[in-house]
Symmetry: C2
Subunit: 195 residues, 2 copies
């Protein structure tokens, strides 16, 4: 594990928010994945993108390559993902992503993931055990109140202290309950790829 | 002309910034055009997109349709364009765009357009006189200092008072010399379409 302890967290810390676009489920196609470089919870600094297979196994590798090959890589301090499944059930192994990028990973969702339901859905897919392992590998789901005391989000993390992850989530959630980089990554990825 | 006089300009006025993506010049292809809904100079509220022909004649119509069919249309107060030529020399007729959308149009460039050069470049294209008319139709190019007294940009406008256009350009240029909606539209359009 590549492990990072933060002393000071600058309000303008460079974070990456990653989300996927719209795609046709259960098809042999690909989906757009967008990474948005944000200065804290404030403004957009850059953009990167890749494509991954619907229900495939390439999300971890493709997202890692997108990040490492970006001109923004050296400035990034934290990677945030909108959940751990992209393009259907293309699961990101957040420990592997942390190792490959040498950056802390935080996944964020507005709803509490219901693992029994995920496991059931996985059963219809090839290599369901491999996917399930990647999901378990993400570790415990914790909760944090971000922008206000009523806006709760759920998160998992790798390569960062729980307390630092919480501080970064609170600091960067300026316009909604989720970090601005993730709100904007969602708007861009879904808006650009709308079918 | 659809003409709008502003009494108060709210700091969070909804503006649209429009820019084109990367494309292969002088080919029979199309280019991505992205419209970014911004709250003043602060945050992204939404995104729309269309495609136009490289060196074609559909920019005005396609951009108008993109705007009018968007769920954000009713909230928009001003349209800003990164210049008046998109996808090569697909010229936007800003008076026609103003009439179609019933919204004020402001075009912005960092460099002063050199019309003699544009006219010369146009000569190699079909219907060069029609394109040149649309360029002349945009009217006088004025200048304004936006974020600071050293950051000058050039603008043309339709359906709005010169003074109101200047106030809106100053108000929304928070992170660079150009309005934030245009800075971000450029990052997104060029980042997504990078070849």
């Amino acid at each position: 594990m590549s492990y990072k302890k933060f002393r000071v967290i600058k309000p303008e810390i460079r974070v990456l928010g990653v989300d996927d676009g719209v795609f046709i489920p259960h098809t042999k196609g690909s989906a757009l994945v967008v990474g948005v470089v944000f200065r804290g919870g404030y403004w957009l600094d850059g953009l990167m993108r890749t494509r991954i297979e619907v229900d495939g196994f390439d999300a971890t590798d493709k997202i890692a390559s997108m990040i490492i090959s970006s001109p923004h890589y050296k400035q990034l301090r934290v990677i945030m993902l909108n959940g751990i499944t992209f393009a259907g059930f293309n699961v990101v192994d957040i420990k592997a992503l942390n190792k490959k990028t040498k950056l802390p990973i935080i996944t964020v969702t507005r709803e509490k993931p219901i693992f029994a339901e995920i496991r059931r859905a996985l059963k219809n897919l090839p290599k369901s055990e491999e996917r399930w392992e990647a999901i378990l590998n993400a570790g415990e789901t914790l909760e944090v109140f971000t922008r206000t005391e009523r806006e709760k989000v759920y998160f998992q993390f790798s390569g960062i202290l729980e307390e630092d992850a919480k501080r970064i989530l609170k600091l960067t959630s300026t316009r909604s309950s989720v970090p601005e980089a993730l709100r904007v990554a969602h708007l861009i990825a879904s808006g650009i790829s709308a079918v």
